[in-house]
Amino acid sequence: MKVIVLQLARFGDVIQTLPTIQGLKKKYPKSEITLVTRATFADAARLSPYVDNLVELPSKELLEPVVASKSSEESVFAALGSLGSWLANSVLRNSPYDLLVNLTFSKASAILSALIPATTRKGLFCTTSGELVVADAWSQYFFAQVLGRNLNILHLNDLFCRVADIETDQWPLEINEPAQPFEVKKLDPGRMRVGIQVAASEPEKTLHCEAWSQVCLSVLNKHQDSELAFFGSEKDLPAINTVIAGIRDALPELAQERIHVLAGKMRFHENISWIRSCKWIVSPDTAIVHLSSLTGAKVIEVVVGKVKPEETGPYGDGHHVLYPVTTTPSHLGDEIAKLMNGEKVGNSVAHSTTARVRCNNGSFRNELVAKNFSNNEITYFFMKSYYLLAEFRCAGRQEETEIPPLADSAQTGALDQLLVVYDALCTIRRLAEFGQHYSLRMLEEIDNKVSLKNWADKLQEIESLLVTLQKTVPIVKPLIDTWSVAKDIAYAPSLEARTQKHGSEALEDVIALNEGAYRELAQNVEIIQQLLQTAVTAAQERIEKRSNHGSSKAKYKETSKETDG
């Protein structure tokens, strides 16, 4: 069996593809697995012993002359030739493949997928005319929820496995031992090494250098036995040097051997040996977090900016996630130092831990568990409900994950807000039912141009109303985005053929696709409404109990007063 996996994104995404590769090999032990990555990020793939052929797309080499010459005809022609030769020699020579799994959700990956002959295709691809198609249900979920930046509880490791329809029960993963060009310095007895990753993919996703200096100072001061190892690439060196200068300003007598600068000294995957020598890795949302998770090294992720640790945070049991929203850098550093001592994190920094839980259906899910704060119960309720809906929709299985209870006494007003959402859900369901009805009428009157125009106008109105609704009640956006994907880019068996068809036959296919999308939307809303009704009924009982308890307490107080008197 020949399997090809496409992952054209960055280091972190390549690492998050490795559980899928291992799972595919376990499911199909005799398979030959090819993994395609960009050459720049291929080192991450070298860690998996289960990649039989690593194919590197030399995108930088291919494209730089085109970009430099502002797409001159000559450079485009040369790049086209090189791209064709690369495709033929590296990918097509081994084709056709039995299974193609595209775990990149970009246009380029969709086109590449379409250019590779394969019997079964998962993930994004496109038709010969360039129309994007997402065939399988989990990829539709990815497209609608992850790319739509919606509420999503699934970590990418778990989501990629679901797209490929495999389970990886082993964690940490099996990995190749890379060469050690920069030998790991042996730890003196009683010493603790802490890995620090300062830089992130974007400056707004990490602390500023001064803040990192403060965090490092807290760790060094609180743990006199500690030493710091700074990870990163060569281009991170200026930031790292600024952080170290800040540390040395405050601690001029700090021993040289308590600071190691590793940035730029190793290739990405070679960091793994140093990571293993660290007791803790402190990092924002970066590929070092994923690399550390692979080895089982304990991570303290500092969440800065628009990142979603549920999706791309540390994976496995016992990692920590800190949200330093209002705290000062030195206070954050103190809390990190306390965590390293096994102490509780103070309430000024929100703290979650990770756990890899086995679902009752046999699959796995990385879960973030709030330690010193309460999740916003409405957001958390919908996050879990949408996940249950996805398991049911995509895998046809009912999960037994507990629906989080509503009506926490500290979150007043939540039930009132839910009423607004419930109203929105009722409206969506009605609109979906109308959409389904109008689509069916269109199919019945396919030969009547006037009627068709009339029903099409009405459908247009419904679409506008749905778009408005998701703006006014954003928590329902995942449902609307799912419908939008189902309507516009979901696979219909006739979609490839549709481009060849003309007249009413092609139109019928489009209308049938629309009708199916509206039907599914109505069903999805109904499922969420049922979950909501159950949760609200339980919440009302809880409130009633609380108020009875409150009134009996008051009665007791009154009686006591009377007795005392």
Binding site: A9, L63, L83, G84, L87, V146, S201
Partner: protein, 36 residues
Amino acid sequence: MSETEELLKTIDRQLLLKLLDALISEQQTPSSQSKE
């Protein structure tokens, strides 16, 4: 005719051109897909 030439003949040129275009635009911002 070599094997490579045979394989090259099977490639849809229009799609290949579309792939080149898409790669160029994605090369400018090779962002992680979860943040696209």
